[in-house]
């Protein structure tokens, strides 16, 4: 795990992309999550992210470590931004390096799915009309790597790999 942190600073996926991957890594996958200017038919002016920072940093590190252990990825970097973000700003960067593309894609995807289930972080949408609302999320399970979510209504890759 090269980087795993929650930060207020603007994110730059290309910076982490350049940092990962050695001579044995034939694939480096980078993902940027960006703020959308619309959601469920409403115009979004800004997204505000709140977090339980001390726990979030440790959960993010745990998620990245598990991804390295459970896939063939050689290195992972992940940063999640918090605070108020305007549309097009980057909220999440995940980069995974591996010998081959499948492992790099799998590791990157696993980190994203896991953090959506476990990372103690919340977002409030602020709309163009001045109203706002906290988005409904996933109830974290109590076992690392599991998603015994009481509100779970979707499945995800790797869900059975406990």
């Amino acid at each position: 795990v090269v980087v795993a942190e929650v930060t207020e600073r603007p994110l730059d996926g290309s910076e982490l992309l350049r940092r990962l991957g050695g001579a044995g890594d034939g694939a480096v996958v980078a993902f940027e999550g960006r703020v959308r200017d619309h959601n469920e038919g409403r115009s979004v002016a800004c997204l505000h992210y709140d977090t339980y920072r001390a726990m979030a940093n440790s959960v993010l590190h745990e998620i990245a470590t598990e991804a390295v252990q459970r896939t063939e990825a050689s290195a992972i970097a992940v940063r999640h931004r918090v605070g108020s973000l305007a549309p097009s700003e980057v909220s999440l960067v995940v980069v995974a390096a591996a010998a081959h593309r499948k492992e790099a894609f799998d590791a990157c995807s696993r980190v994203i799915e896991q953090l959506k289930h476990r990372l103690p972080l919340w977002k409030r949408e602020e709309y163009a009309d001045g109203t706002s609302s906290w988005l409904e999320g996933q109830t974290p399970g109590t076992e690392p790597g599991s998603h015994a979510s009481r509100s779970a209504h979707r499945t995800e890759p790797g869900q059975d790999e406990v």
Partner: protein, 84 residues
């Protein structure tokens, strides 16, 4: 000798808005569990039913309802998470 456990429960996201504060104080009997914390918060005048669907973290780890809580533990009410 103390027969109660005093806890300051950390609130986040929607719970912080609903309660209008970042911390809620609870006094529970010695031997209390995460389930007791959840039950007590469900009786809170502002939080009430919003506690349904939330997780509880003790010392920065998600814990089951059976897990014990002690004085000095860092206990947080975690609303459904929504990163990304």
């Amino acid at each position: 000798v103390t027969s109660t456990v005093h806890l300051a429960i950390l609130l986040f996201g929607k719970h912080r808005d609903i309660a209008g504060r970042a911390v809620v104080e609870l006094d529970l009997p010695a031997g209390a569990t995460v389930g007791d914390v959840r039950a007590a918060l469900s009786q809170h005048p502002e939080l009430g039913s919003s506690v349904e669907g939330a997780a509880v973290a003790v010392n920065r780890r998600y814990e089951r309802d059976e897990a014990p809580v002690s004085a000095g533990d860092e206990v947080a009410l975690i609303p459904p998470v929504a990163g990304g």
